[in-house]
Symmetry: C2
């Protein structure tokens, strides 16, 4: 009986009745009108054509497929939606192209493996942004981790900012590429609400593979005399044309009914990620010699015991960054992201949305510059991710200039509100990890390869923005400021000078 | 008769005789021994295992397939080789992964469309670096532009820095992905020199498509007790083991003969890219109001008339950066790179190698941060590319924070030896473009969207590193330093103050 009901509901979801279909069509046209009105209100920049071709997709997703509480967008049980093409709808600012799908991967990974909950993740990806490699990093990630709770909708509208795209409307090529990247791939006419309902239903049935919906659309779709024309990208319509066009679109609307979104399944666990306390003081002795990057790996493992929502990501450098120490003690909370740093940042951004996890992503400090754009957009979204860069500076020696991070400081200093930690010994490194875990906003911890002496006592307390005076005397004439490994050089110089 | 000879030569190239094959095998083993010896000589870092599995590929390429003058590596007629996996062999420093194939694309584009010459381009790509999206940007670029003079060898050895890769030895998946990205794709056993000769011959016959050779290899291939084992990445062998292993490899060598590489076809045109002169002074009048980004587009078009090796690349922003002005006047020298900024920088790096072109790559200033790593590695290679970033700063207003470039200055200031131009009017913009064209090393020109007044006279001369005093009086008490659009604000303030 229960099964029969479920299957009836399933059929209804796959093939909605004629009335529902008409309401979905009407809502798409209403969205179209809203997008023309809203962009006309702005004076010189806006995307009415881009909004128009996704109108049917949005209508079907938000009023037929997705399960969420309309009045509680932060509810952890809600399905997630990421508007990768332009502005974020819900959780992360995309704006810059090619970043949304990676964030959606992080949300889906969290839903499937950490929350083990029913919520699903939908991401609208533009064909233009598919030129960017970060999209393909995300595609490879999602299939490798069998993210069957993830649906990417490729909005293939043929036209980009200044030109037609290389693949134009070659839907079959998009299909082949997505299939080759391991996705369950469904092709659909993006104007056909009935077909859209059908493919989203099919996506929900798929096990162990993410689903790509390749939707053929037309820029300015459903907007008379703008549809599929070049040179409309990012431009509002002239007011006089807008009124006539709105009237025409309105004439196609048959009902004034709306649909209520489905309620979410409320099965995500309660999570507490605030006030994570050090279970014991740092366990180092004055005579120890230890690299801060090694101490950082040990601190991450310790942090993982203090809170079970702490997760660590690494880009195929875990045996060098020492994040493998965390992996050994908490294997189920470690995500291997391979050498795809852009995607690693986006995945981390997705993992921390709705406060579901405390994420630390690790790689060589020199490799973070690969993800500058994702890091910057994360900061604009006020993300709470933490990044760790090992092997900083010239002290790595024999690995050569391509691996020496020097410009990482220039980069992170230009990131709004980013807190930068450059600890000098194992004790301050452990404190940096716990401070970062408890600090809202982005944090960056920079660690070194050489073994260095312990400077602080285990009882020393640390605060963000506070400098420590390590040596002083009444005869001092100059102040030397050091951080990280340079502090050890400054101390050696101070010792030399005090002998003179 | 000539045809019969050519076809005999062709058959010989596809199927070398038994003796040649043995020499190629022997040379692979000699390479293997060299790589073990060289990395043993370094104390703690080196890649003997990575070198070993590519030994047969390198032997066949350098002693059977490629045409070049051994004693003249800079000869423009030589075939090009890019070692994307690690250190550059010839033209660009790769070091950071995923960048070589884009550079190879630039070389192949230049060979096919600018030089219209016979030289071909070979690029060895690692399976590990294929996790990076920039590789897929390059794959899409090469097939879109039908670069049939380009061969990418995917060295699928299964193991990366810290782990086995997601696809392990799934050669069929690599094949499907390359095919879906529009490449002629050939699968080969990377240990079999005869099969390698065969596929490289097939690649040379292919018209209108680049060729991907997917080679199954084993990390540490041919090195007893190291082959296909994890945890050897980047580590030299202990000395005592190395000697025994070298002895074993040496015992497989049957000949002491070498092969002479084939001579190149000498058909690339003479090129002169030095001392490009402004054909006439800037044509602006004191009362003109013009955005520096518009003036920049006009200057590029003018520069294109002054030298026929000037090329322009753009990432689907040409109607905003005004690089479409150049495209209209020199369509055959404009490369549309779509929104794949990482690849655009790599392509530009490839285009300028061997001094074949003077390249200017354009996009919004905010978008350059996406290519920080490629820009940095370009500077380490002492590349001669020029980058232009339009829409800089907050003066773009309504486009929003994601499009406002502020951190581009922090980034380019951290690039070794990069010259940064931030011109304040149309006249200095035109000079900046000509100065950049004539300056060795990387140059960055930052332009603004608002229309601004003309500050300088057409006769004004400009030098790199020289500041101009725009207003002064004997009563001056403070110095205000401005650049770009901020200079106009400083001048307005000076006018206000002088009235008080």
């Amino acid at each position: 009986m229960a099964n029969a009901e479920a299957s009836a509901a399933n059929v209804d979801e796959a093939k909605p009745d004629v009335k529902t279909l008409q309401i979905l069509r009407d809502m798409a046209n209403r969205l179209r009108i809203h997008s023309i009105r809203a962009t006309c209100a702005s004076s010189s920049s806006g995307h009415p054509t881009s909004c128009s071709h996704a109108a049917e997709i949005m209508s079907v997703l938000f009023f037929h497929v997705m399960r969420y509480k309309q009045k509680d967008p932060e509810n952890p049980d809600n399905d997630r939606f990421v508007f990768s093409k332009r502005l974020s709808f819900v959780d992360v600012a995309a704006g810059r192209l090619g970043q949304g799908l990676g964030a959606a991967c992080g949300m889906a990974y969290t839903g499937k493996y950490f929350d083990k909950a029913s919520y699903r993740v939908f991401c609208l990806v533009g064909d233009g942004e598919s030129s960017g490699g970060s999209v393909w990093e995300a595609l490879a990630f999602a299939s490798h981790y069998s993210l069957d709770n993830l649906v990417a909708i490729f909005d293939v509208n043929r036209l980009a900012h200044s030109t037609a795209l290389p693949l134009e409307h070659s839907i079959d090529v998009y299909q082949k590429r997505c299939e080759a990247f391991g996705w369950n791939t469904l092709v659909v006419d993006g104007r056909d609400v009935e077909a859209l309902c059908q493919v989203f239903w099919q996506a929900a049935q798929m096990k162990n593979k993410p689903t790509a919906v390749v939707a053929k659309t037309f820029k300015g779709q459903g907007v008379p005399s703008v549809e599929d024309e070049e040179n409309w990208h990012g431009k509002p319509m002239p007011k006089e044309r807008a009124d006539a066009i709105i009237k025409l679109i309105a004439s196609r609307i048959e009902t004034n009914k709306s649909l209520k979104p489905k309620a979410p399944v409320e099965d995500s666990p309660q999570v507490n990620i605030s006030d994570i306390e050090m279970t014991s003081p740092p366990d180092y002795e004055a005579r120890d010699m230890i690299a801060t990057q090694k101490a950082c790996g040990l601190a991450l493992a310790k942090l993982g015991h203090a809170n079970d929502r702490v997760i660590v990501l690494d880009g195929d450098t875990k045996n060098s960054t020492f994040s493998d120490t965390f992996k050994r003690e908490h294997p189920e909370r470690f995500i291997e992201c391979f050498t795809a740093e852009q995607n690693m940042v986006s995945v981390a951004l997705g993992c921390v949305t709705h406060g579901r996890t405390v994420a630390f992503a690790c790689t060589f400090a020199a490799f973070w510059i690969r993800a500058f754009d994702q890091i910057r957009m994360g900061a604009i979204s006020q993300t709470n991710i933490n990044l760790i860069g090992s092997h900083c500076g010239v002290s790595i020696g024999e690995d050569g200039p391509s691996q020496m991070a020097l410009e990482d400081l220039a980069m992170f200093r230009a990131i709004p509100n980013c807190k930068i930690f450059y600890p000098s010994d194992a004790i301050s490194t452990e404190h940096a990890v716990f401070l970062a875990a408890n600090t809202k906003g982005m944090c960056y911890i920079r660690t070194s390869r050489p073994e260095t002496a312990i400077i602080y006592t285990p009882q020393e307390s640390f605060e963000i923005g506070q400098a420590k005076v390590i040596r002083q005397s009444v005869n001092d004439k100059i102040t030397v400021v050091g951080a990280g490994i340079t502090l050890h050089e400054a101390l050696a110089a101070a010792d030399d000078l005090s002998k003179q």
